[in-house]
């Protein structure tokens, strides 16, 4: 209970689901050693973290920000540029983190102070504008960011796939640098999600929820809501930047697509489908979404072939159109189960 900050899943099905997901992720390198499966597992970890940090804003304070990928991108680029410029050393990784994270926090602080005083809707528009400007900047400042090609880099010796840490003949499984990188991602993501869970269950988190329910009343009770909202924004940005760092380390690359609006929409879908205002929703949402992204497409491909000959239907079922169906699911979930999968599961008990 301590580790969950006194906020357990409160539903048998949900607990079971979470245990299954976390166990599978923890054992992923042993159970699914394939390259694709490992990429899926890592992506679930990274996105669960990113979505959890976004949930701190959307679910707990009710502010819609479209600049979340910007912070994710700052983290990614920070490490990528440092490793690219300074060579594959641990000092470079540290430099990237030391520059990237405070930068993300600073930008979040500026945006927050400038625009969180006004309505939620204004904040949404301003973050949208700032994020799109940042995206253009990143693809234009090619001397720094590598432009549209992004920056590929080499990792420190220890994290490379070629480095064998425990050879195959010991456990019948090769534990190499890549596996180590996966565990770094997994452990950091898990630790940060637990930290976020701690934050939302602290007095600070309670104030955030009060602001979400009724900002005016929270203010009347004497809480400085702008202060709390700005802090939440900065914290969310910091965690998003951490997710960006992990993403860059795994991909050994950072490019403008980390900043793209598509990822922002993905995050939004994951938060809403998983369940706003519950940190567990982030894990469920990310798992559902990324599994769908990777495996629903092949299913749709089959459906598309099966319906060949019928007009329009094959096009609607084309694998590239999977976002259409998730979009419909998204709209349906905002209407019919606004608390997402987690809320639905909790409601039954």
């Amino acid at each position: 209970m301590m580790i969950l900050s006194g906020d357990p899943p409160r539903s048998r099905v949900l607990s079971l689901l979470l245990i299954v997901i976390v166990t599978l992720l923890a054992l992923a390198p042993f159970l699914f050693p394939g390259a694709k499966a490992m990429n899926v597992a890592t992506k679930i970890c990274i996105f669960a973290l990113l979505v959890a940090s976004y949930d701190l804003l959307l679910g707990y304070t009710g502010t819609v920000s479209f600049a979340h990928t910007m912070f994710y991108g700052i983290g990614s680029y920070g490490v990528a540029i440092a490793l690219y410029a300074m060579g594959p050393t641990w000092t470079a990784v540290a430099t990237g983190i030391v520059i990237g994270l405070p930068l993300a926090a600073l930008v979040a602080l500026c945006i927050g102070l400038f625009s969180l005083r006004v309505q939620a809707i204004f904040f949404a528009m301003i973050t949208l504008a700032v994020a799109s400007a940042f995206q253009v900047l990143a693809s234009q400042l090619s001397w720094l960011t590598g432009g549209d090609d992004g920056r590929s880099f080499r990792l420190p010796e220890l994290l490379r796939p070629g480095t064998v840490i425990i050879p195959k003949d010991v456990f019948g499984f090769e534990f190499n640098g890549r596996t180590l990188t996966y565990y770094i991602v997994f452990v950091v993501a898990a630790a940060l999600i637990l930290t976020l869970l701690r934050i939302v269950n602290s007095p600070f988190g309670r104030v955030l929820q009060a602001v979400r329910e009724n900002r005016f009343r929270a203010e009347a009770l004497g809480y400085r809501t702008v202060f709390h909202l700005t802090w939440a924004n900065v914290l969310a940005a910091l965690v998003a930047a951490c997710a960006g760092v992990l993403n860059a380390l795994w991909l050994r690359y950072a490019g403008p697509e980390t900043l793209s609006f598509t990822i922002m929409i993905d995050i939004l879908l994951m938060v809403v489908i998983g369940g706003m205002g519950t940190m567990y929703g982030a894990i469920i949402g990310a798992a559902i979404f990324i599994l769908a992204e990777n495996y629903l497409q092949s299913l749709m491909g089959m459906a598309s072939k099966a319906t060949a000959g019928i007009p329009v239907l094959p096009d609607l079922l084309h694998p590239d159109r999977w976002l259409l169906w998730l979009g419909l699911l998204f709209i349906a979930s905002v209407y019919f189960f606004p608390t997402g999968v987690v809320g639905k599961l909790r409601g039954k008990n």
């Binding site: 959307l58 819609v64 234009q140 979009g327 419909l328 998204f330 709209i331």
Partner: protein, 344 residues
């Protein structure tokens, strides 16, 4: 402008006229001042004229797309993140008409070209207006008064609409050539003015004039302006403001569709992503103008276009963030936009 054009109400008993609100002209002078200030920086007068005309044309197109959105927000406090969908739909529908009529489009006669463009524009407006009806009834009606859900639902609508366009037309970019007689430029001495920009300006001015006429000279317009200022009061007087709002929403969507076909012709290609791309620009415009204000939206659109054009010419790198800088500058000066109309 909706806030400062008073209806001339004369009460027969009153001897002196009712006090008028002061006309606020400073925002009106902004684009003029900006254009004049730029003359020495740009140097050559002919370049300046070309850039100014380009900004005006671009501004008019943005205004056409943004006008509906700002009224929709002002009237019902609904911010539609899916507005871009109507722009994209308008552009795609235009290809349905313009492709079979390519004979008319390629003919070297202005009238034949316009005979192809007019039905295309009308059909675009009809389809995006109808889509607006569906959008309002199905998506927005159930979430009135809840900003968070509105943003999420309309974002979802944008995603679905964009994906549906890809499914129906395919993901490739569709070329949409300009009609023959609208290609090229009018040349006056060493000043070149693209013909299509002149058409865009004319259409933009006609739309602006029409909106002002409806808002200031008709009963519907009076109700809309009253609704923007105080919705409850209009409802209390017995008007069904939701129906009024539906009308505004449909007209706004239709105008977005018109803007979409104009923008697609300007770019000479159609792609579903234009909706998402232009959404950002449109939001900046309506924030600058003051949410709910048509006049502010008009000035905002021209300012944004001017900054983009002059900025792109003088300091290309800066042009990328110029819109944001403009928005920050305006909001520092007037935190609720050029013409704050709503008290929200």
């Amino acid at each position: 402008m909706t806030d400062n054009t008073n209806m001339s109400v004369h009460v027969s008993a009153a001897t002196e006229p009712l006090p008028q609100t002061k006309r606020d002209v400073i925002p009106l002078l902004l684009p003029v001042a900006l254009a004049l200030v730029m003359i020495p920086f740009i140097g050559s007068p002919s370049t300046w004229v070309t850039l100014t005309v380009a900004s005006l044309a671009m501004g008019m197109m943005i205004f056409i797309m943004a006008s509906g959105l700002t009224l929709v927000f002002g009237l019902m406090d609904v911010l539609n993140f899916g507005h871009g969908a109507f722009i994209a739909v308008g552009a795609y529908v235009a290809t349905l008409v313009l492709a079979p009529m390519s004979g008319y489009v390629q003919a070297d006669s202005l009238w034949l070209n316009l005979a192809a463009l007019a039905p295309a524009a009308l059909l675009s407006m009809a389809v995006s207006g109808a889509l607006g009806l569906v959008f309002e009834r199905v998506l927005i009606l159930p979430v009135y008064g809840n900003h968070l859900k509105q943003i999420l639902i309309t974002m979802g609508g944008l995603i679905v609409a964009e994906q549906a366009l890809y499914a129906l037309w395919g993901p490739q970019r569709i070329p949409l050539p300009l009609p023959t007689s609208l290609r090229g430029s009018f040349i006056f001495g060493d000043i070149a003015i693209a013909k299509y920009r002149v058409l865009a300006m004319i259409v933009g001015l006609v739309v602006f004039g029409f909106i002002l006429l409806v808002l200031n000279r008709t009963k519907i317009g009076l109700l809309i302006r009253a609704g923007v200022e105080n919705r409850e009061m209009v409802e209390a007087l017995g008007y069904r403001i939701k129906r009024l709002f539906l009308g505004v929403f449909m007209v706004g969507s239709a105008l977005a569709g018109l803007g979409g076909i104009m923008w697609a012709l300007y770019r000479e290609e159609v792609h579903a992503s234009i909706g998402g791309e232009l959404t950002v620009l449109i939001f900046i415009v309506i924030i600058i103008g003051g949410l709910g204000s048509i006049g502010g939206c008009f000035i905002g659109a021209i300012l944004v276009a001017m900054v983009a054009n002059y900025g792109g010419f003088l300091i290309p790198k800066l042009a990328l963030v110029s819109n944001i800088l403009l928005m920050v500058a305006i909001l520092m000066w007037r935190p609720r936009g050029l013409y704050p109309v709503t008290n929200r």
